[in-house]
Symmetry: C2
Subunit: 344 residues, 2 copies
DNA sequence: AACCGATAGACAATCGTTTGCAGGAGGCAA
DNA sequence: TTGCCTCCTGCAAACGATTGTCTATCGGTT
């Protein structure tokens, strides 16, 4: 048995099977592919011998010949800001959903982390022809590269913000609406000195801030720059930013954090500063990741339905593989009210 | 510019570059590979022309010829229990760390979700030769398949439990010690009716339960079967299991959950049943995932350092790629005491 | 017996690289 | 001028599949 195992692992090619069956390679190829050119009896005999010998087709050779790899690339362009993929549960969740959706369709997943992106990165990735299509998670600061590639490469779908001069297919949340929605909620519970915590270099976050500013203006709140604090996505950076905010603006009465992770760090900082949530300071996050529902207090947040998003993206990607120039989609954010803004 | 872009995307092969340079394909190949056979001047000329035309080497053809793909496979064998990769943050985090570690070494990552595993799955994956090595995350119920492959395929590293008759390289936590540690902690704070919540079909969980049983016996606690409740890993399943536990054993005074997700569900169920944590029932989880620190109350748990684990696994895998038969490693669990077992 | 049509299966080119081997150009010494 | 040696560079054969084209075989018909 062990011996058989060893022998079974040795490289076995189609021509070997052909020899064992006493037919030519082409016949084996056609038989395995289920071509009608091959007689049923021959086909069965060949298949039987092939898997008795543990033959597995070589996808590299097949891909080279067919110019198809049965593989989708999932790409994370990470700017200097977020060097680690694991730094935010958002990326992890999105990746998990992508794996689920793509493998459901019988494709393999090739994950690339591009960090930091060099000028031709997307073109190079495309021209390598290792994947039949590509999903890019987050625009980072790579709008230009995406535009450049999106014009000429159809099977590309991007998760991110909708930008005005966009030449590529985007599926993404309406971040402006999300930012407005969050801020209006804070205003509706009587808050006036509302801070925004988040790094606006990714366009998603910039749009959330834009929505925040719009809501503040509409309510006649004046937003000093000091209420807008750039905060990195890692818990450490976020906590430092929250502390800076609190020392510079002791009278802040609400915090809109650009992600749940940032919001949790803010909760921590507030607790250490002796502020009560939500009585002294209300806190709202963004994403509705797993942590939000279980935090103390449970976190009010703006939900993005990543399972649905992933499904849509993969659906559009596969339609693009068929040649359809899909239009992208804008998802509606949903406000999830919990106890970090409204005491029970 | 747009026009140049379009032209740049058309398939360009090495022989095209050779023609443009007025040399042969072999010279281009050698030049790009930095072979000392090619004169420096020629080499520079070729490289200059190659990337002026945006030439990208075709990794499929290269891989076919070299029998090397510069790719590592990350495989999740999911039994019937966990059909979704995204169901547990453990898998997501592990995947995130794997992507970080592997791309750090300049390799690509090919993710496969195998669900449910069919008899020859691992052998087939190996024989496809799409990857130079393979990391399997979790043994699920596939110990036999792993043994079968591990005997003949060197570049394979598995995350999971250490089992007696193991023929493959495992990096994993000492789950028995972890289970014992958790249970002893509960005993040390005076708990006597300690429940175990978790599905013991994956060996990791079985070993945690084994440690739990050992600690109970050592302390002279008798464990009725009714205190051991199989609970799925999804929040819904876990919550149902926790509720069943509470109705069947109203006098339970501690719960050891096999994962943090299960523990959080238990917290929910306890709150709904009107029990205080930790006063009435102490709760301890496993993993120390991101949710644990922020829950209400913060969750006491047994920490597995996944960043370190991922680093070790990838390190051993690359040593195996060099031919070294690495021995695997057992990581020590660490008890993280928070307020779900000890009131502040 | 000769011919024809249909059909199963073989041949060979192709996908885009890498690399062992052979050969050509140029330099230097005799 | 010849011969030899040293560098470069080119030729062609892999790597392992797929597929258009062509051939052989077989049965049936006249």
């Amino acid at each position: 048995m062990a011996n058989e195992s060893v022998s079974e692992l040795k490289r076995l090619k189609m021509s070997d099977i052909a020899r064992l069956c006493g037919v030519s390679t082409s016949t084996v190829s056609r038989a395995l592919a289920g071509s009608p050119l091959i007689q049923e009896a021959t086909r069965e005999m060949i298949i039987q011998i092939a898997d008795a010998n543990g033959y597995v087709i070589n996808p590299l050779a097949r891909g080279l010949r067919l110019q198809r790899t049965n593989t989708i690339g999932v790409v994370f362009p990470l700017g200097a800001i977020t060097a680690q993929l694991i730094s935010d549960p958002f990326f992890q969740q999105m990746l998990g959903h992508m794996v689920d959706e793509i493998s459901l369709r019988g494709y393999q997943i090739l994950v690339s982390k591009v960090t930091p992106p060099k000028p031709g990165w997307l073109r190079e990735l495309i021209k390598a022809h290792r994947t039949d299509g590509m999903v890019v998670i987050g625009q980072s600061d790579q709008h230009a590269a995406l535009n450049d590639a999106g014009q000429v490469y159809l099977p590309l779908v991007v998760w991110g913000a909708h930008l005005p001069d966009q030449q590529y297919c985007v599926v993404g949340l309406d971040n402006i609406a999300g930012g407005r929605m969050a801020t209006e909620h804070l205003i509706s519970i009587g808050r006036r000195r509302i801070a925004f915590l988040g790094d606006p270099s990714p366009p998603e976050i910039a749009q959330r801030r834009q929505g925040y500013l719009a809501a503040c203006q509409a309510a006649g709140l004046d937003v000093t720059d000091r209420l807008i604090v750039p905060a990195g996505f890692s818990p450490q950076q976020a906590e430092a930013a929250a502390e800076r905010l609190l020392t510079e603006n002791p009278d802040v009465d609400a915090i809109f954090a650009a992600s749940d992770v940032i919001a949790l760090s803010a909760l921590h900082a507030l607790r250490r500063a002796g502020k009560r949530v939500p009585q002294d300071v209300a806190v709202i996050g963004f994403d509705d990741s797993a942590v939000a529902a279980h935090s103390n207090p449970p976190l009010t947040t703006v939900r993005q339905d990543l399972a649905h998003a992933a499904h849509l993206m993969v659906d559009q990607l596969f339609r693009r593989l068929e040649g359809e120039a899909t239009a992208g989609e804008t998802l509606a954010p949903e406000l999830i009210i919990r106890q970090s803004t409204v005491a029970p």
